[in-house]
């Protein structure tokens, strides 16, 4: 079955809604300077799959592992790859503008946030 014609429109529009994976992908590409093809490679999926994933709601913090599992089950995307993209954008999103250029600070914050989130995930599951 071919992809529906509206898929591209919907995937592009998803970037305007902060609660979608489409928004996450757009921010990730913007901050990392990556093309859609490069992002698809990071997620180990096709461009078509990237469009479908864009329509998904981003996982809730309180049910992160559960929601990630639901996305994995539907789209067979590697959860750790998607989680890495999500965490990267979450860190970039909360960093003050003045610190965004600081690579070392960004990396430290990323690691701290990743550690915090992994603790949350472990305790919630």
């Amino acid at each position: 079955m071919a992809n529906p014609k509206w898929l591209k429109v919907a995937a592009q529009r998803s970037g305007q809604h902060t609660w979608t994976l489409g928004y996450i992908f757009e921010q990730y590409r913007k901050h990392e300077g990556k093309s859609a093809e490069e992002l698809a490679a990071d997620l180990d999926c096709s461009l078509e799959m990237l469009d479908w994933l864009s329509l998904c709601r981003r996982p809730d913090e309180e049910r992160f592992a559960e929601h990630l599992g639901m996305i994995e089950k539907r789209f067979a995307v590697e959860p750790y790859r998607l989680a890495a993209v999500l965490r990267r954008v979450e860190v970039l999103d909360v960093l003050p503008a003045s610190q965004e250029g600081g690579e070392a600070m960004g990396e430290d914050a990323f690691l701290l946030a990743a550690r915090d989130h992994s603790t949350d995930d472990e305790t919630s599951s």
Partner: protein, 214 residues
């Protein structure tokens, strides 16, 4: 996506959902199921788009735009839909229809405003004498701008000359500013930026010029 998941998921969108299916789907959206949104799109997009095109005479792009917006709004705020008042399909269909009608109204209003502006502008066309006076003033202004060192760049000089002579075409200004090779959207933004900058410069010059004369 594995083949089994792909088939069952895509197959789900093909049949018309029963009221029970719709309730389950709505509940998943309410519960913030991360993949429920793709099922809403799969279930309703084609049906709604088809009806908008058939009954409202929409073109496909307009129907896609309105339906996508309506579905995203529903997924974001599902509580606005009350299952007790009717089917989810009816709710989304109605919302999409309203969206199309609203967009048409806005487009019509915009077209009327543009038309009015065009006719007002045509009615206010300047006489040959006024045009000649403007031209003389523009030349004098250009001369003073150069003398006082406001214009150091040849491209700025060309662009400002065009502006002062009443040129409104983005393309002409782009050529003068050396921006003609840019893609259309980028070109429009760049010309606007330069035009704004030159108008500010002109404003500053005008103020200092009048202060100097007084």
């Amino acid at each position: 996506m594995n083949a089994q998941a792909k088939e069952s998921w895509r197959g789900e969108g093909m049949r018309y959902p029963s009221p029970a299916d719709e309730r389950v789907l709505h509940e998943r959206v309410v519960q913030r199921d991360p993949v429920a949104s793709t099922d809403v799109f799969m279930t309703y997009m084609d049906r709604i788009v088809k009806i908008l095109m058939q009954r409202l005479g929409c073109d496909e792009d307009a129907a896609h735009d309105s339906t996508v917006e309506v579905i995203f709004t529903y997924i974001h705020k599902p509580a606005r839909y009350d299952p007790g008042k009717g089917r989810l399909f009816s709710y989304l269909m109605q919302a999409a229809r309203h969206r199309v009608v609203d967009k048409r109204r806005s487009a019509d209003a915009r077209a009327r405003r543009d038309q009015k502006y065009g006719s007002d502008f045509a009615q206010r066309a300047r006489t040959p004498k006024e045009e000649l006076e403007d031209l003389v003033e523009a030349r004098l202004a250009m001369k003073r701008l150069v003398e006082r060192g406001y214009l150091k760049n040849e491209r700025d000089w060309d662009a400002l000359r065009l502006i002062l002579y009443g040129e409104r075409s983005t393309e002409s200004l782009a050529v003068a500013l050396g921006l003609a090779s840019l893609p259309r959207d980028e070109l429009k933004r760049a010309v606007k930026r330069h035009r704004d900058r030159l108008m500010k410069l002109l404003g500053r010059f005008g103020k200092e010029d009048s202060d100097g004369e007084s």
